[in-house]
């Protein structure tokens, strides 16, 4: 019988964090990516409204703010795509799997180790952005943002859900991939559906009311649960070790 051990889960998370911190390319990517996605919103919110007259500020701010959801959608896929194939390539997966760790602990630990830094950075960047809006943006713009509860709910609630989606897809790719590079490129495809979703919301096909934000979040949650289940099924020890489906 499998008994989920939170001690083993924590061991995986702790080790992953230690490992990332020492890999400069990961640290740099993780730090630079969020700020790249800040450029568009910053220009839109702070620069454009100053020069041109904006007809309806409430509609105008939606796209730049939702654009911030790209951060949790795109940032974790590279890391997630690395999780399994990275260990397989290093040869560390096999010894790891010889320990009493269960598949569930392995997935949860690996996933959490990507989700935690992603969310810390995402919310950190959101905080900075909203602080800057409060302090520097024109009052019509800042009240348009802070006055739309649905927009902020979407921003905060959907971030971890989109991140979970990207992580699940990235890990699924990682299980199957035989090369890190391929895994990371395929993993990036995970962000296409979230980008489309954000576009649909932003161009106003569906107007982001609070109800819409909540419904989308619930649907996303359902999709995430399914995706995680599928990944969990894929995480068969044999497949992890050999990279191919167990054949009988």
């Amino acid at each position: 019988m499998n008994t989920f051990s939170s001690a083993r889960l924590m061991a995986v998370i702790r080790k992953e964090m230690r490992d990332y911190r020492r890999k400069r390319s990961i640290v740099v990517t993780m730090l630079i990516l969020p700020f790249m996605f800040l450029i568009e919103p910053v220009v839109a919110i702070f620069v454009v409204p100053a020069s041109s007259g904006v007809s309806d500020p409430r509609n105008y701010v939606i796209l730049p703010v939702l654009y911030l959801l790209l951060i949790p959608s795109i940032m974790p896929s590279t890391l997630a795509a690395f999780t399994v194939v990275g260990e397989r390539e290093q040869g560390t997966l096999e010894p790891l799997l010889t320990t009493p760790i269960s598949q569930q602990e392995f997935i949860a630990g690996k996933g959490a180790a990507v989700l935690i830094p992603t969310m810390a950075l995402t919310y950190g960047v959101y905080g900075l952005f909203l602080l800057a809006v409060e302090v520097f943006a024109k009052s019509v713009v800042s009240s348009a943002i802070f006055g739309q509860g649905s927009l902020l709910v979407a921003l905060i609630l959907m971030a971890p859900l989109l991140a979970s989606w990207s992580i699940a897809v990235g890990m699924a790719v990682s299980v199957r991939a035989t090369e890190i590079r391929v895994a990371q490129q395929l993993g990036a495809l995970a962000s296409i559906p979230p980008v489309l979703l954000i576009l649909i919301l932003a161009v106003g096909v569906i107007h982001p009311t609070l109800a819409v934000a909540l419904i989308f979040s619930i649907i996303l949650l359902g999709v995430d649960v399914r995706a995680i289940r599928i990944v969990a099924k894929m995480m068969n020890r044999e497949r992890l070790v050999t990279g191919s489906k167990p054949s009988r």
């Binding site: 702790r14 010889t98 760790i101």
Partner: protein, 362 residues
Amino acid sequence: MVHGALQLVHTGIKGSERSTAPGGFLLTIERGTAVHPPSASSTFEAGVKGEPALVVRHLTKRFGDRTAYADVSFEVAHGEVFGFLGPNGAGKTTTVRTLGTLIAPSSGTAIVAGIPLSVENGVEIRQRIGIMPENPGLYDRLSVTENLEYFAALYGFRDAHVRINDALDAVNLADRAQDLCGGLSKGLRQRVGLARTLMSDPQIMFLDEPTSGLDPVAALEVHTLINSLRAKGVTIFLTTHRLDEAEKLCDRVAILNTKLRTVGRPADLRAQLFHNTLRVRTRTPLANPGAFFATLASINEWHSNEPGTYELEVADVQSAAPDIVRGLVGEGADVISVGESAHSLEDVYLALIDDDGNGTAS
């Protein structure tokens, strides 16, 4: 009393620790009496002492249409050092992975450390065994200690630091504990992998080529380590390409070439395949060896490649040797040495693998 120097010769096995290996065959002749080698035969027969550590029954693993190993059956007793030999691609690593619950067999059953091999029993089996894979697989950006800490946490050890220090001492790595693994040489990495396996204090330890890439001194240290584990009662499943190592360390060996070719004590395997031969050297060649050897009933056949050196084929070395020495002395010959010209495990291995056609499994 025998006159002339009587030398203790053992031509089959080279190595300094041979006398400690129960599987090794040591013929000691002193003052004309043969001292029998310590009989290890019954103590290590699988199944004699309670439940075996490993029971493997008709195990087969296929990858698509490639068969990694087929219909493999054997047992390993508790405390036994079991050698698993075979050419490249024979299926040794795949067998270790199967018994270690990493991959599922295509058919057949096994009991590992008392637990039936199945996916559901995986965690419990892995708690009781330790596997050192072919490739030690270390996290290069973590130090030696950090690598071990991770595994100690996965096993849930409370006394992690004591275990880590003991394991590092056992493989002589205490002074490299803080080094990043990325900077270690191949042999040092191998030793970290070994320390990691030791740390979990398993009932059964699977070592997949533990001495590959080690220098002779380091390899000898691993041999000493294996012997000390044996003394502690740990069951060891040792995969190796070094037949001298297997002969020196293992109570029994199995030779695999996709199918299991044989299982047994090295000495028994030699005896099964080859006639027993005694090699006798005298200071001066015998005047009429043919006539003399014909008088000794224990000699079946003889030949001599150089004057003064005789290869005598006998049924049983133990009883024939003293007879022959007495005979030679009575004949007035100055015996320089009498020894068993034993065939090595290598001879057994080559004979069996050659039967299969070529050296590599398909």
